[in-house]
């Protein structure tokens, strides 16, 4: 069985669980619990361990999706998830600038620790208070368009939109793998 493992990450309330439920062919396994802290002001339930979804598109081939816990105190899960991940998508709510700090922290962590291909998925881009994608990129620390990860609009409730984001991510992974192979070939 060949499996590609994708991590879906982002600040609390960015739509990670919804994203996985929307694309998963199985009933997504979630570990949502009633939120009792400041998260409760944002949503009734929050993920405490991880979400899991699967997309099998052939007899021996499948995509596995893992959602990171939204609460940083459950952060030991992160190490487990990213250790085996091939690529990840960072979800950011375009209309919540207060989330950009957390998104930047996650993004910096992944850039520094994981070094795997990524895509930034921007939700709520049609909200009147949404920041433009270019400005969000700068707020997340990607100052130059060069070397910036692909950024795609996301509606986590819409299967076509989620699939389009996954296409962008798989394409990013394919480019990354090709460049790695080229580097290895040159080294040899």
């Amino acid at each position: 069985m060949e499996i590609m493992r994708i991590v879906v990450t982002g600040p609390v309330g960015s739509g990670k669980s919804t994203f996985i439920r929307t694309i998963s062919e199985i009933e997504a396994v979630d570990t949502d619990c009633k939120a009792t802290d400041e998260v409760a002001t944002l949503k009734q339930k929050t993920t405490v361990a991880m979400d899991f979804g699967r997309l099998q598109f052939g007899p021996n081939v499948a995509l596995h999706l893992y959602g990171t816990p939204g609460q940083e105190r459950f952060d030991f899960m992160w190490d487990i998830l990213i250790r085996r991940a091939h690529a990840f998508i960072l979800l950011v709510s375009s209309h919540r600038p207060q989330d950009f700090r957390a998104a930047r922290r996650i993004s910096a962590f992944m850039r520094y620790r994981a070094k795997i291909p990524m895509v930034i998925g921007l939700s709520h881009a049609d909200n009147p208070n949404a920041w433009p994608a270019e400005e969000i990129a700068i707020a997340l620390g990607y100052l130059s368009p060069y070397g910036r990860p692909p950024m795609v609009p996301i509606n986590a409730l819409d299967p076509a939109s989620v699939a389009a984001a996954m296409v962008a991510l798989v394409e990013a992974y394919a480019r990354h793998q090709a460049s790695q192979l080229n580097c290895n070939a040159l080294a040899n």
Binding site: A114, E135, A139
Partner: protein, 302 residues
């Protein structure tokens, strides 16, 4: 529709709108954003609550800061374009009627300060004083605001009448403002976490002047030491180190990296690294990638 098309369609609908509350996105972060993004336009800040120690000049009043290519070129409590002329007249250097007569001799897109200097009406030292009074003195006070609404208008024309021709780095001003800040209540949830580490975001030494405490913390950049451990080493409260790191972050000098406990597996134990998680993935075959792309693209078109 491929990914590139999706992005292009998305980009077309964008309107330049940068707004929010200072409690969500602090002034220091806004300044860093505008400088690093090399933005041109007008940042307006409307206080929602006032503080007793805030100068009465700025209470409940919008304040406007003008940027050109990421640098602050002017600031004013109003948009009537009279601020600089008022300052000059108040200092007794020139009367308004004289200023206006001199300005009428210069192109409209020339900063007033440059025009007046070119005609010998003001000297460089006077322009420095005016710029300091206009920009460097009031802006740090804005950092004391408990709450405010900010809006950045990238289409606002440059106010040449308010400009001395001098400019200042917003990140340097932000750091200066944060050094003076006594009440950090509004910024507490924006500080880097005690368990985080910091890495340098610049190559070599910092391009700005750091004070001694900032230098002490800077010495621990890239050392993979948590902020709380830096505090112990420096015999400082953790909160003090968090504040210093926040200033360094606002100055664009460091990036916070969340420190996450590694779970040691047998493979990981053999190849553990302090800074980079050892990947345990295998390569994905090209036939897999082709297959998944075909499948996902079908989903998009269903």
């Amino acid at each position: 529709m491929n990914t590139h098309q999706v992005w292009n369609e998305y980009s077309k609908g964008e309107a330049m709108k940068i707004t929010g509350y200072l409690s969500e996105f602090s002034l220091g972060e806004i300044f860093r954003f505008l400088e690093q993004g090399q933005k041109t336009g007008c940042l307006s800040i409307k206080p929602i609550q006032t503080q007793e120690d805030l100068s009465s000049t700025y209470e409940n009043q919008e304040y406007y800061i003008f940027f050109r290519l990421g640098q602050i070129v002017a600031a004013s409590p109003s948009l009537d374009h009279q601020g600089l002329q008022d300052l000059i007249e108040r200092r007794g250097w020139l009367r308004k009627i004289t200023i206006q007569r001199l300005l009428s001799l210069c192109p409209r897109d020339l900063p007033s300060g440059v025009c007046l200097k070119a005609q010998g009406a003001l000297d460089p030292a006077q322009l420095q004083l005016l710029f300091k009074q206009q920009v460097l003195t009031p802006i740090p006070q804005l950092f004391s605001l408990d709450e405010g609404w900010f809006k950045f208008d990238a289409h606002h024309p440059l106010p040449y009448e308010e400009m001395t021709g001098l400019s200042a780095s917003p990140m340097e001003i932000a750091v200066a403002g944060l050094r003076l800040l006594k009440d950090w209540t509004a910024l507490m949830d924006k500080l880097p976490l005690p368990d985080s580490t910091i890495v340098s975001a610049v190559s070599g030494q910092p391009p700005y002047h750091l004070n001694s405490r900032e230098w002490q913390v800077w010495e621990h950049v890239n050392s993979a030491i948590k902020l709380k451990d830096i505090a112990t080493a420096l015999q400082l409260p953790v909160l003090e180190v968090q504040k210093v790191c926040f200033r360094l972050m606002v100055a664009g000098l460091v990036e916070e990296i969340a420190s996450i406990a590694e779970v040691k597996t047998d493979n990981a134990k053999a190849n553990s690294s302090k800074s980079e998680t050892k990947s345990e993935t295998t390569e994905i075959s090209s036939s897999f990638l082709q297959g998944v792309l075909t499948f996902l693209r079908t989903t998009i078109h269903v």
